[in-house]
């Protein structure tokens, strides 16, 4: 697998898909590879280095208020 997931080749993706363990056709793999590269472009917008205490979103108690 290449160092950067954002430029993963189709062959690398196919090998990975084989290990993920879901049933895929070759056509699925080609489409999913294109989609995956698109997702990785979006991923660049999500910070990867968080403080260890950083919390997930509290969708069950939004900042604006409301008890659940």
């Amino acid at each position: 697998m290449s160092a950067s997931k954002s430029d993963m080749s189709l062959d690398e993706f196919r090998a990975w898909a084989g290990r993920v363990g879901i049933a895929l056709t070759e056509e699925d793999i080609v489409e999913l590879h294109k989609g995956y590269l698109g997702m990785m472009k979006l991923a660049a917008r999500i910070p990867q280095d968080w403080a260890w205490e950083a919390e997930a979103a509290h969708v069950f108690a939004p900042p604006g208020g409301g008890r659940r």
Binding site: D28, E31, G35, G38, P47, A54, A56, V59, G64, R67
Partner: protein
């Protein structure tokens, strides 16, 4: 007969209460329009006329005896076909569920029935509220009543079409990433994505549980408020359901809007390769109208639209995969070709990416709240331009421009779609009003005031 079918919920309810209108006549008017036009528009996948007539006659008997249950009593309503309905097929536009006949109503359907609403049948949707409108699905896709060669928007596609075309006065939609507001906008109706947790999702096919919301779609914001009066409320069997104090949303519409402070998020849509000139101009004019009504409208800056898009995709995709993995593995060809890949791609999101996206979601929620300090609402475009046709749908939802409704799914805020005119090609223009969490009442009040001050509710599609 057609004029009856175009009554708003508020208008029809007033006449029903006075005794100057019978529910059965209202239902027959809607059924007549469906018979005349739905062969071309495909809004309904399952019509239940006998049940509707029986419910309408029951409503007439009760109202006649002085037992009116409320504003929805005798009002024809359609239900998106991902809501379970007792004894009526709920297929979710999927071959996987095409024989699925639930035994119990979704909580919201039960609430509508208890309020006396007349269920007309099940409305078209995109497959499991996520797939594109492709020909490998059980039912033909709904068409836009304003421009029948175009889509109505999705995934609550039939709901948007049916309300605009006068097939029912109100409809239920669901909104994980804009699926109420997209069709509401392109069908020139009103649609509310309530605050996450305000309305029970029990009995509605899930897509991404931390994003899924369900809500009303109707011709006016006032009608959405009347529906929300019935729909909102705690459900102990929906784990996301909020314990909030009851609010009489329709009564709150009468309060003045002068002094309401609105932040206009123009940088999301008014830029090169952004929204169409018609959309930009329509929203500029809408802001002018709102200022004329005494609101303060000022431009504000929120995080980049693509930040919300990235966050949403890295949460929705794995959540969707976790729900449908077993089915898509066992019976992949029962899914449409876009739905299948949109489910499968979630398998390639790592746990670390998912968790970081949920952390990022919290940051976006807080950043949005901070940017809104000093403002009651934010206002922005609902869609980029005219609706799409039916050819070559994108395989993945993130291939095109980022979703304008999506940020308020990330934050969980209530967001209302409001029609603000029509473009040169006849397609509907619309903006969103989003409020603070659980302040759905302000969103509806300002939307309703805008609608009363403008002529757009007087125009219906010429079928």
């Amino acid at each position: 007969m057609s004029e009856l079918a175009f009554l708003t919920i508020a208008e029809a309810s007033t006449r029903l209460a006075r005794g100057s209108l019978k529910a059965i006549d209202l239902v027959e008017a809607c059924l007549a329009r469906i018979a005349r036009h739905d062969g071309r528009l495909n809004a309904f996948v399952t019509l239940t006329p006998d049940d509707a007539r029986a419910a309408a006659r029951q409503a007439d008997r009760e109202i006649g005896r002085g037992h009116r249950r409320g504003a929805l009593h005798g009002i024809p309503v359609g239900i998106k076909d991902i809501y379970e309905t007792a004894g009526v097929r709920t297929a979710g536009q999927s071959h996987l569920k095409v024989d699925h006949v639930p035994t119990v109503d979704a909580e919201t359907v039960a609430r509508l029935r208890a309020a006396g609403a007349v269920i007309m049948g099940k409305l078209a949707t995109h497959e499991f509220a996520t797939g594109a409108a492709t020909p490998d699905q059980p039912f033909p896709p709904a068409r836009n009543p304003w421009l029948p060669d175009r889509q109505p928007g999705g995934s609550s596609s039939g709901s948007g079409t049916a309300v605009a075309a006068g097939f029912c006065a109100g409809a239920m939609g669901s909104d994980t990433s804009g699926s109420i507001r997209n069709p509401a906008g392109w069908c020139a109706i009103s649609g509310l994505k309530p605050t996450y947790g305000l309305v029970s999702r029990r009995g509605v096919f899930p897509l991404a549980p931390s994003f899924d919301t369900v809500g009303p779609m109707a011709w006016t914001a006032e009608d959405c408020a009347l529906m929300l009066d019935v729909l909102a409320g705690h459900d102990p069997l929906d784990p996301a359901s909020a314990r909030t104090e009851p609010v009489a949303y329709s009564e709150r519409l009468a309060q003045p809007i002068a002094g309401t402070r609105i932040g206009l998020v123009k940088h999301w849509y008014a830029h090169d390769n952004g929204a169409s000139a018609d959309v930009v101009q329509g929203i500029d004019e809408a802001a002018r109208v709102l200022r004329g009504l005494g609101c303060v409208v000022e431009e504000i800056t929120l995080p980049d639209l693509l930040d919300y898009q990235a966050c949403a995709r890295f949460i929705i995709s794995p959540e969707t995969h976790s729900i449908y993995r077993r089915d898509v593995d066992r019976e992949p060809l029962k899914f449409g070709y876009t739905t299948r890949r949109r489910v499968q791609i979630g398998a390639f999101i790592t746990s670390e990416q998912y968790v970081n996206a949920t952390r990022f979601r919290r940051k976006l929620m807080l950043d949005t709240e901070t940017a809104m300090q000093g403002y009651d609402l934010v206002m922005t475009a609902n869609h980029w331009g005219p609706p799409e046709g039916f050819d070559n749908p994108p395989m993945f939802l993130f291939y095109g421009k980022p979703s304008l409704p999506n940020p308020f799914n990330v934050t969980g805020q209530p967001a209302l779609t409001v029609c603000c005119g029509f473009g040169a090609d006849g397609s509907a223009l619309a903006f969103q009003l989003a409020g603070r969490a659980f302040d759905d009442a302000t969103v509806l009040r300002v939307g309703a005031a805008y609608e009363r001050a403008t002529p757009w509710r007087d125009r219906r599609p010429g079928l």
